[in-house]
């Protein structure tokens, strides 16, 4: 984690491995699909290709829409995700800053940031959007 030991070779190896992992997983899964395609039984019928329904004939599917409340959870997730992006670098450096340069600003800055977000979640709670609606 020390910045001065950055090596291009290591960096390249690291991220090549990451990129290749996706390729390897896709290849392995592709192999499985291919095997299944060659080996599995295939007897097509109209009935079999209809969508599943519990005991009644399936009605033509209308891509039903959802309650707007779902959207709030997505937005909340986005907000906390962005917050996490700030927290990760902070978690690693705030103590170094304090010890090496006696700089306490990062700690108080983050506490203020968390305070604002705590207010956000309390606001959402009071407005009742954290309740699940049908």
């Amino acid at each position: 984690m020390t910045p001065d030991t950055f090596s291009v070779e290591l960096f390249t190896q690291n991220w090549t491995a990451v990129a290749l992992s996706a390729v390897v997983a896709a290849m392995a899964i592709g192999g499985m699909f291919a095997a299944s395609r060659m080996l599995s039984a295939r007897r097509h019928s109209e009935e079999k290709l209809t969508t599943y329904e519990c005991g009644i004939p399936p009605s033509p599917y209308t891509w039903s829409n959802i309650n707007v409340r779902f959207y709030i959870f997505a937005i909340l997730f986005l907000i906390f995700d962005v917050e996490a992006v700030f927290l990760f670098p902070w978690a690693v450096i705030f103590m170094q800053e304090k010890i090496n340069e006696a700089n306490t600003l990062p700690f108080y800055a983050m506490m203020m940031f968390l305070g604002v977000l705590a207010f956000a979640i309390i606001y959402a709670w009071k407005k009742g959007v954290l309740e699940w609606q049908k």
Partner: protein, 384 residues
């Protein structure tokens, strides 16, 4: 502009990475086979059954028989589905599940590539998998599928936040995002002793992330008949469950690395320490199976309320606790005390919720009483 940057990698390294990745995939497949067998055995024992016994000694060949069956089964793609999405969804799920294993170390050296930002990398790529479930549900063109996909998205994004927060509080204790350094940081004491709240939150949120009971409402067979997986069969279906077990194993491995000291243990040294690692991971997995055998499934509203009203605030608190403890140089026991107090609050909240009279039941009761009260005057009026 970019010529100066030499992105070079020797052919040897390249080939070794590929070999390592294939080896990792094979290992994970074997682990998944072992987990399916173990799960059925453990659940069987918990319910006073035997579990699989017929195929091989102690039913050990059962997972292989299952795998063969799934490959030989017909892979049905419903006529009305969105074919492209239907196909790509399981691939997205399994790729994101496999990608995080690039950087999860088994011992100090048994890792494909150790990333400096390992913990952040794992969190970033695990979020992609959520999308696969939504696409699976949407692509199936089935109302159970869409409902399940939506529930999956809502549940997984809600429980992702506590996972992130707890991961951050561990990163603060270790002052690093490198998983190997996090394990090294636990030489004096493993982090569960200073951050028991973190362990419990991570465990609960981890269960929800991989959709294990009691958080399996998004694909619950008896309620929405398999949710996003309802239309899947054969190889495609098995890919989803491959991903689910890989993720379960990953969550257990992360718990061991973040809180239980990773591969450190007495007696063994060098790469043999992987035995400690696997041993601890399998113990955690046994606990996960035990929970599955014990708890009933949560309703979706209870699940979301629990995520946002207990898990998120508590994980926030655990970050603040750790920060304050480190910043003011408090002794280690003070964090233990704060964290345990937080844990007690979580326990109390769950206990109160479980024992409190349900609002729904009260509502039904009130309605029935109102109905009876309506009838009674009429009946008594007729008598007078």
């Amino acid at each position: 502009m970019l010529e100066a940057i030499l992105l070079t990698i020797s052919l040897d390294d390249f080939i070794w990475i590929i070999v390592g990745l294939f080896a990792m995939f094979t290992c994970l497949s074997i682990v998944v086979l072992s987990l399916t067998w173990l799960e059925r055995k453990v659940l069987g024992r918990l319910q006073l059954r035997l579990g699989p016994t017929r195929t091989g000694p102690m039913g050990l060949m059962q997972p292989i028989a299952d795998a063969l069956k799934l490959i030989l089964k017909e892979d049905i793609v419903p006529a009305s589905s969105e074919k492209a999405l239907f196909w790509v969804a399981p691939v997205i799920v399994v790729i994101s599940a496999f990608m995080i294993w690039v950087t999860i170390p088994g011992t100090q050296t048994a890792v494909i590539q150790n990333l400096d930002l390992g913990l952040f990398y794992i969190i970033a790529f695990s979020v992609i998998g959520i999308l696969g479930l939504v696409l699976a549900g949407w692509g199936s063109a089935n109302k159970y599928g869409t409902l399940g996909g939506l529930r999956a998205a809502a549940q997984l994004i809600s429980y992702e936040i506590p996972i992130i927060m707890v991961a951050i509080s561990v990163a603060m204790l270790a002052q690093s995002l490198d998983l190997r350094e996090i394990v090294d940081g636990q030489n004096d004491y493993i982090y569960v002793f200073v951050q028991p709240l973190g362990l419990v939150l991570f465990f609960i949120a981890g269960l929800a992330e991989v959709g294990r009971t009691p958080f399996d409402i998004y694909f619950a067979e008896s309620e929405i008949v398999g949710g996003p997986f309802v239309e899947y069969s054969g190889a495609h279906w098995s890919v989803f469950f491959l991903a689910e077990y890989i993720n379960t194993f990953a969550i257990a491995a992360l718990m061991v690395i973040l809180f239980l000291g990773g591969w450190s243990g007495p007696v063994l040294s060098g790469n043999w320490e992987i035995i400690w690692f696997l041993g601890k991971v399998y113990v955690v997995i046994m606990v996960i199976f035990w929970v599955r055998g014990t708890f009933p499934r949560l309703r979706i509203d209870q699940l979301m309320a629990f995520a946002w009203k207990v898990m998120v605030p508590m994980s926030f608190l655990s970050v603040v606790m750790t920060a304050v403890y480190q910043f003011y140089d408090w002794p280690a026991w003070s964090l233990t005390a704060m964290s345990s107090a937080g844990l007690a609050v979580v326990g109390l909240l769950i206990f109160k919720k479980m024992t409190a009279p349900s609002k729904l039941v009260a509502e039904v009761k009130a309605r029935r009483e109102a109905l009876e009260a309506q009838r009674r005057p009429a009946a008594s009026g007729g008598g007078d």
